[in-house]
């Protein structure tokens, strides 16, 4: 038996299919970036809602058989599968057995498989008693026909929805944070309810026909303190009414206390919650940009009003600048981009992240660059360098692209002084004015123009200026007319956007421009 279990564990340990199946199940259940998870979530939510609707409909109307069958077999079946999947991926028994076996062999001890099995099964049991696992289990129970009373448990299916909403967790978080204040108030409340319930019982039990037990007294106290006041039980003696007055006044005070505690707890964490939302949304998209610092450079960047820059978030340490950015309608959060904690919240594994370090301080920019690169080499960093002395440091830190506003501005002034005519041209080209737009055409493998000569492609007819070819990292300026175009060439062309678009359209399906 021992050997059989062990060899089975070994078999599972070695099986690639088993492993990939487990990883896939884990992915679909927990990984937000898995593309199938969304469909899975939607299916579960649909099942929950439909079964609750059937329950409600059933109260007053006869339900057709197929609907009943759907409810019992389909829904419950899928929920059962989901339950076992969650149980399955919770831990890995075969891995634990093998690890334990290797360890005991290493130490030269006797290997006891039952001990290990017990330990790992206990681990599963621990998961089974967590609230969410219990809810999952209870949601399956209504399928058991003989117990019609269990139909009420369908409501537990609604609780399953909570797993798919983040807000409830955040709400619980907020409440837990204010545990001390709320508990204090709760004890005070209990004390008042109990004291006044006992008091009314003692004072009026003999005279008031509605109060027959201590429970009636406490029930009255709760109804009164909560300001609900059904009126089924009402004090009739003067002392009883005096107690009512006290209990009502303290009730109002208590309710407003609780409300203000919860509200203040929320407003304290409001920014944080908003940030979480933004970060979450970013992580859901394939590629996005993190812009560090909201200064002149960032403002200018947004001023260009070029085509949609995609998803982005501005980060700044200074709250007044964050406010200014938000006022201008940009997505901004107050966070320190140089801290590891901040940047590691973004999912560098699944998303294409580009970080723009545009703060006015080189020290800050270098720090952010290093921080980003320490999290993942895949994060692309474009950084501003103010002092040319620091260029090497930025390169060393791993920045992908450097922006040198001072140097660029200086050379622009220089050109404006020495060659005023050219200034206009260069300025237009560098700022990508529509006429002077320089673009690249990436020639792919099966492209129609591969093998054709430059002279054959009449660029001037399309009002385009052909500048040259970038081939294997080298630039060939103004190649001769009989140069043949090869796969993976990048053609550098200047012209109006529409001319370029038209040129591309002519070779539709065969030509593409990166991004």
């Amino acid at each position: 038996m021992r050997d059989l279990l062990l060899s089975f564990a070994l078999y599972l340990h070695r099986s690639k299919r088993y492993k990939s199946a487990k990883i896939f199940a884990k992915d679909i259940l927990f990984n937000e970036n898995n593309s199938y998870k969304r469909y899975f979530d939607i299916t579960i939510i649909f099942l929950v809602i439909s079964s609750v609707f059937i329950l409600i409909y059933e109260v007053k109307n006869p339900v057709p058989l197929w609907l009943d069958n759907y409810d019992i077999y389909v829904v419950s079946f899928i929920f059962t599968i989901e339950y076992f999947l969650r149980l399955w991926v919770h831990n890995d028994i075969s891995e634990i057995i093998i690890k334990e076996y290797n360890d005991t062999k290493f130490l030269g001890k006797e290997f006891n498989i039952y001990c290990v099995l017990k330990k790992s099964l206990l681990e599963k049991l621990k998961y089974m008693v967590t609230p969410s696992a219990i809810v999952d289990l209870l949601a399956i129970l209504p399928a058991y026909r003989p117990l019609r009373i269990l139909r009420v448990f369908i409501l537990f299916r609604v609780f399953k929805l909570l797993r798919y909403t983040k807000s409830i967790n955040q709400f619980v978080d907020v409440i837990v944070n204010k545990k001390f204040e709320l508990l204090t108030l709760l004890f005070l409340l209990l004390f008042i309810v109990f004291a006044s319930g006992v008091a009314i019982y003692i004072l009026e039990a003999d005279e008031n026909s509605n109060i027959n037990s201590l429970f009636d007294g406490i029930y009255w106290a709760i109804v009164t303190i909560s300001t609900v006041g059904y009126g089924d039980i009402a004090p009739i003696t003067g002392v009883g009414r005096a107690i009512s007055i006290l209990i009502i006044v303290s009730g109002i005070a208590m309710i407003s206390f609780v409300t203000s505690i919860i509200v203040s707890a929320f407003s304290e964490r409001l920014d944080e919650l908003k940030e979480d939302r933004i970060v979450e949304q970013m992580n859901k998209s394939k590629s996005f940009m993190i812009i560090c610092g909201y200064g002149q450079m960032t403002k200018m960047f947004f001023r260009q009003k070029r085509k949609n820059i995609g998803k982005y978030v501005i980060m700044d340490n200074d709250s007044s600048r964050v406010e200014a950015a938000q006022k201008n309608g940009y997505i901004a959060i107050k966070e320190d981009a140089s801290s590891y904690k901040t940047l590691s919240r973004f999912d560098a594994k699944y998303c294409d992240i580009t970080i723009l370090c545009l703060t006015s301080s080189d020290v800050e920019n270098i720090y952010i660059t290093l921080n980003a690169k320490s999290i993942s080499r895949n994060i692309k960093v474009i950084t501003r360098v103010n002092d040319t002395e620091n260029i090497d440091k930025f390169k060393h830190a791993g920045a992908n692209e450097l922006l040198l506003p001072n140097v660029v501005a200086n050379s622009m002034i220089y050109i404006a002084i020495t060659q005023p005519t050219m200034y206009k041209a260069i300025h237009a080209i560098l700022t990508g004015k529509s006429i002077a737009n320089i673009d690249e055409i990436h020639v792919h493998n099966s492209h129609a123009i591969v093998g054709r000569e430059i002279g054959e492609l009449d660029f001037s007819v399309h009002k385009l200026l052909f500048l040259g070819i970038s081939r294997d990292g080298k630039f060939i300026f103004n190649p001769s007319k009989n140069t043949k175009i090869e796969s993976y060439d990048i053609l550098l062309v200047m012209g109006r956007k529409i001319s370029l678009e038209y040129f591309k359209e002519l070779h539709e399906g065969d030509i593409y421009v990166k991004r």
């Binding site: 002034i413 002084i417 060659q419 041209a425 673009d439 009002k463 500048l467």
Partner: protein, 233 residues
Amino acid sequence: MLKDSIAIFGYGNHGKFIANGLLTDSFNVTVIESDEIFFKNAQNDGFKTVFIDVTKDSELKKIELDTFSKLVCVMDDEHLNVFVTLSLRSLFKDAYILSISDSLNVTRKLQMAGANKVIDLYEVSANKIYNILEKPIATKLLEDFVSNKSGISFREMLIPNESFLDGKMAEKIDFSSYGVLLVGMIDKELGNAFLFITAGISHKLDSGDIIVCLGEKIDLDKFEELIKSKEDI
């Protein structure tokens, strides 16, 4: 008016770079400063330097600024820079004033103050971010052209009298066979605006027009010589 004599206000971050660049290109540079440390720096670097309080009109008048072809305001303090631009414009109606700005608001103020050209510190760099994201290779090459790193650069040329280009349509001439590319021109007949060749308007080349070409230095030199001749070789 002396050609190629330039007055630079401010010898800070930008002034220093520009002044040195102009000096190597044998321009006649005069630095005007009101900060003692910067003034000394400029003197030590061997510039003709004037030390005055730039906020005083009477002192500005003393240095006969109308003898300069261009006045460049690149003071580190943006307030002072706007003020100097304004003073210069009110004193010298016809002067060509160039100013640097570090934000949009300042750009607007400088234009109101009467600067002929305002260069925004961040505009080109902010555009570069877009370019890097959209077309990384073109951006890299373009930068090399502008900074003349790859040997290929832009050059403006005046079409001389009796050039073989005179009177010809720009589209009819195959510039690429000379190793250069015509990017655009200033056509006197169509006003003084710069026209890109890609705009799609037929250009007739006349003597006196300025053309801007892209190419390697040797080819540009050759072509510049060539257009002086009557006949196309």
